[in-house]
Assembly symmetry: C2
Homo-oligomer: 206 residues x 2
DNA sequence: GAATCCTTCCCCCTAAATGGGGATTCCATC
DNA sequence: GATGGAATCCCCATTTAGGGGGAAGGATTC
């Protein structure tokens, strides 16, 4: 099944699909307003979805169809490759993201790939997705040079334990915990437990 | 350039690459221990990296090479497609992830794709990556039904402010802040500031 | 008009955290 | 064998946080 408001594109895609015996076209629609009903009636195996359509945005449509038909693979097919639209689409449940510049044979390949549990993406989109992971965790965490013991204490602090509970857990004295925490505060440039916990979690220190 | 401890695979990949005039093989090594030096001397355009190697783990090697040569694309080539190894590799800076079951023509295609700024992935890997995005934001964050004012207070708490500072900032009384925080604690099922901050940050509440 | 929730504020009291000192032992490094 | 860091513990003091209540005005909902 196919959603695209541009008649030319709709027609050429339809042609391509009916020409290939491996596919059967359920329908090609210019409007995703009632995408969910159409899907529930026509029961497609795959959906190709444009983004910029008059009545209803393709990204929203993906969201609605995805919650209703969780296992139905939806591939975005659009001219946009900005990060916002890519990630929004994926979050809403799209399983692939192709640009309209994709050559027909690649598109066919992508449809077969989805059937086999793949997730076709145009190269530039795939690269964006990959880079997302690097920015995700790699932001080189500043090293505050905490000693091993200080890290132990900080971990338990983050878990919400009090000084006393930390002392019990680590089998050391209350005053020792205090010493460690004092040192942690100096090293992290903070003054309170909450600041220490926030800094630790935000920067992924432990 | 190619790292793989299995001689058979090294040889067959090497053969494939030297047979194709579009490629030039810098070297095929069974050990990634000194990957960084090798790269700095041989200056490859792309690296293919196995994961399970005796001396040094391929994932670590990727990390080292990536920090030293930030723009050099590295493709993992391995038998493993478990989420852990996939995501670890990507975080360390790999730009592609192929399984060894990839047919030779697909592998060639992947190498060309990387050259053009793509990010080749085997279908099952791509699907994992996509699903990560859905689990990423969709995990319906438990709604603790905090009132707007309570969210204000919680935000400032997370910023490390004390009751008194929050009162000043919101221009309300100290006891009011206390009331809000008491209510927040009940709603979040916590007893201390640190627990509240940790829960807030871990679950992305504010 | 009663019930409910949000927001605001108050009191009493205890427990916990913080800041300022200082001390000891052990261990590695120079 | 001296220096320095890590880990352990101690005492002083004040501030802050937390648990237990209660109350009043306003908005919304039923």
């Amino acid at each position: 099944m196919l959603f695209d408001d541009n008649r030319h594109i709709r027609d050429s895609l339809s042609l391509m699909l009916v020409a290939d015996s491996r596919f059967k076209l359920c329908g090609a629609f210019e409007d995703a307003s009632n995408a969910v009903e159409l899907v529930s009636v026509l029961k497609p195996d795959v959906v190709l979805m444009d983004i910029d359509m008059p009545a209803k945005n393709g990204i929203e449509a993906v969201g609605e169809v995805h919650v209703a038909f969780h296992d139905l693979p939806i591939i975005m097919l659009t001219v946009f490759d900005d990060s916002d639209r890519v990630f929004q689409s994926l979050r809403k449940g799209a399983v692939g993201y192709l640009l309209k510049s994709t050559p027909p044979e690649k598109l066919i390949e992508a449809l077969m790939e989805v059937k086999d549990g793949g997730a076709p993406m145009s190269p530039s989109v795939a690269r964006k997705v990959m880079q997302h992971f690097q920015h995700d965790q790699l932001p080189e965490k500043a090293d505050y040079k905490l000693s091993p013991r200080e890290k132990d204490v900080l971990c338990l602090l983050v878990d919400g334990l009090s000084y006393k509970m930390i002392a019990d857990r680590l089998d050391i004295g209350y005053e020792t915990v205090r010493s460690h925490i004092k040192n942690i505060y100096v090293k992290l440039h903070v003054q309170t437990m909450t600041e220490a916990v926030a800094k630790t979690l935000k920067e992924g220190l432990v």
